[in-house]
Amino acid sequence: MAKVDTRPDHHRLLLETIVQPASLTGYDNRQWELLLRLARRAQLSGYLAAKLEKDGLLDSIPARASNLLRSSLIQARKQQQSVSWELNRVMWALDGQEIPVIVLKGMAYLLQDLPNAPGRMFADLDLLVSKENLGQIESSLLKKGWQHHALTDYDERYYREWSHEIPALVHPERSVEVDVHHTLSSPLGKLKIDPLPFREAAVKVKDAGIYVLSPEDMVLHCAVNLFQNNELADDLRHLLDFHEMMLFFSSQQPFFQQKLIERANQLGLGNPLFYSLYFSRLLLRSAIPDDLEKQLDRQPGWLARRVMHHCVPLALLPQHPDHPSRMAGYARMWLYWRSHWLRMPLYRLVPHLAYKFYLSVFPARAETSK
């Protein structure tokens, strides 16, 4: 059934490009200019450049566009090289300690050569370890020269008590942040995630000690990040990760989608997976059976679905750089609240947001500890 696409033109332009990269050889310069700005804002210019390069199209587009896309691709490759080297250094620092380290997100996609990895921009190295090993990893890295950013007492406490990761570690000679997680979502959140099954199912990559999540868990983690941890603003690239991984793993393993549903049901992650499947199909036309998410034990209610259906695209897709829409602003604000609401109980959330607002007005008051 053909539906009238009521999306704003700039959203359609960006989505059409992602779904159908060959279509952009027909764009006029005005469309190109807008597309380049949108892609940069969505942090997708490296991804687009990699796609075009793979299809041999980088030279059949306007020179200015090709120069900018090439520039982004060079930058993305450098970032990937930096994060890979950071992983190498972390493994060196942990040498001989027998701590299993699970690599998450961007670096994991790269290690696995997933189709969403080429040109993907990411600046951090995300790791998952067991809570028992957290102290040992932190002290090993600190001993070998990594440092924490100067943090306020408040932030320090926020990380240590309420967050699923410890404060980022950075080696002063390099600029890559190492985020060490002990679980996959805020421990205060409404959705309780037990990291143990994720760790148990992790897959060894190559060298001793490096693991990545199993394909189903990697896709689920992506969904949890999108619809549980993040605020969704300009987050289209993570939905694209989800879409590409769904496609790739489904083509690799005959019963992947079924296994994914079972795993989500087993871990109680129906809600985030529901939304990811829904929006991936809605925005990126993912080839996912229409009724796949009906098999999930947990699904959002009809009201939540209606609201999300209208709000999520306005947040995920970038605003028009010259004509930001007020509606999208409200949608983003609502999703910002939602993400905090999901991560913290109200008695923590209200003081937390009040404190953040206070700091936005008086940044000088955020005196660093020590």
Partner: protein, 302 residues
């Protein structure tokens, strides 16, 4: 069509509306602002720039907007935005022009990787480029200003834009910010130089911009190969010295000086190697313009 062919009212309409689209060397800029003071300054300082054809792609979209601060309710502030994002905190409205120019430099330095970007002044004489890389105390902008008023063509006072494959350099003639004492020095030495307003209180002290000569803007499409690399150093009262510099040392100085050397990796290594091999590398110590210009003329004569 050039900016000077507009009336001030037409320029104001463009800047406050869809944006003034001008050509800056190999890039096209779109500039928006509704600030009357900045509009007046741009009318004078950008007068020689050509407009971009409507159907061409503009790479960078920048904007200067008025800003209100809860903490400083009685100061008129402005903010620089690129594609709707603000990389700098707001500054007083008087600093609008300096902030716009620095902002554009930042955007170029952050986003361009298809070219190798040296932090260097570049001028052309006899068909070849003379690079004057920045290093502490170099005063490259001041020396560059003197050179372009004495027969050299301005490429840029800030960026040496090199195509790593062909080795060609691209002109990027933009306003040149003189700082502090340099402003008086240039006013005395080059009364004919067109200077913008003196802007006090910026992060780099007082700044006044030199308008690039018309010829260098009109010939901004003419690329050239480099032939001389001179590391300048101004030193009060020093006798003039123009000494040759070993290629190995020039290589290290240039590699550490390029904005995107690390990002380009091997490509940059190869480009700097061939650059140093194909150029005469010198170190210049000077205290007065006359002798420095004479020495550089002699170097670039042959």
């Amino acid at each position: 069509m050039k900016v000077e062919q507009f009336s001030l009212d037409q320029l104001r309409t463009l800047l406050a509306g869809s944006g003034l689209r001008v050509k800056a060397g190999p890039f096209n800029l779109s500039i928006q602002t509704c600030l009357p003071s900045l509009t007046d300054q741009l009318y004078r300082m950008y007068s020689h720039y050509s407009l971009v054809d409507e159907t061409e792609i503009a790479e960078f979209h920048v904007r200067i907007i008025p800003k209100h601060s809860i903490r400083r309710p009685f100061v008129r502030l402005i903010q620089f935005q690129v594609d709707g994002r603000a990389p700098f905190p707001p500054v007083p409205v008087e600093q609008a022009l300096a902030t716009l120019e620095w902002g554009i430099n930042l955007v170029i330095a952050m986003r361009v990787n298809h070219l190798l970007l040296f932090h260097s002044a570049a001028v052309e004489r006899n068909g070849h480029v003379l690079l004057l890389p920045a290093w502490p105390g170099s005063g490259k902008t001041t020396l560059c200003t003197a050179l372009i008023h004495r027969g050299y063509r301005l490429f840029s006072d800030e960026f040496g834009l090199m195509d790593p494959q062909s080795g060609e350099f691209f002109p990027l003639p933009r306003l040149m910010p003189l700082k502090n004492q340099s402003i008086g020095v240039i006013r005395d030495y080059l009364p004919e130089a067109v200077l913008g307003p003196e802007i006090p209180g910026t992060l780099k002290g007082t700044v006044a911009h030199v308008r690039p000569p018309q010829e260098s803007i009109e010939r901004a499409d003419e690329t050239a190969k480099p032939r001389w690399i001179v590391f300048p150093k101004w030193s009060a009262g020093a006798a003039l010295r123009l000494e040759s510099l070993p290629q190995s040392e020039a290589f290290l100085l240039l590699a550490t000086n390029a904005f995107n050397y690390e990002v380009l990796g091997e490509t940059a290594f190869d480009a700097v190697t061939s650059l140093v091999r194909n150029c005469e590398c010198r170190k210049l110590v000077y205290s007065d313009f006359d002798s420095a210009l004479a020495a550089l003329d002699e170097l670039t004569d042959g």
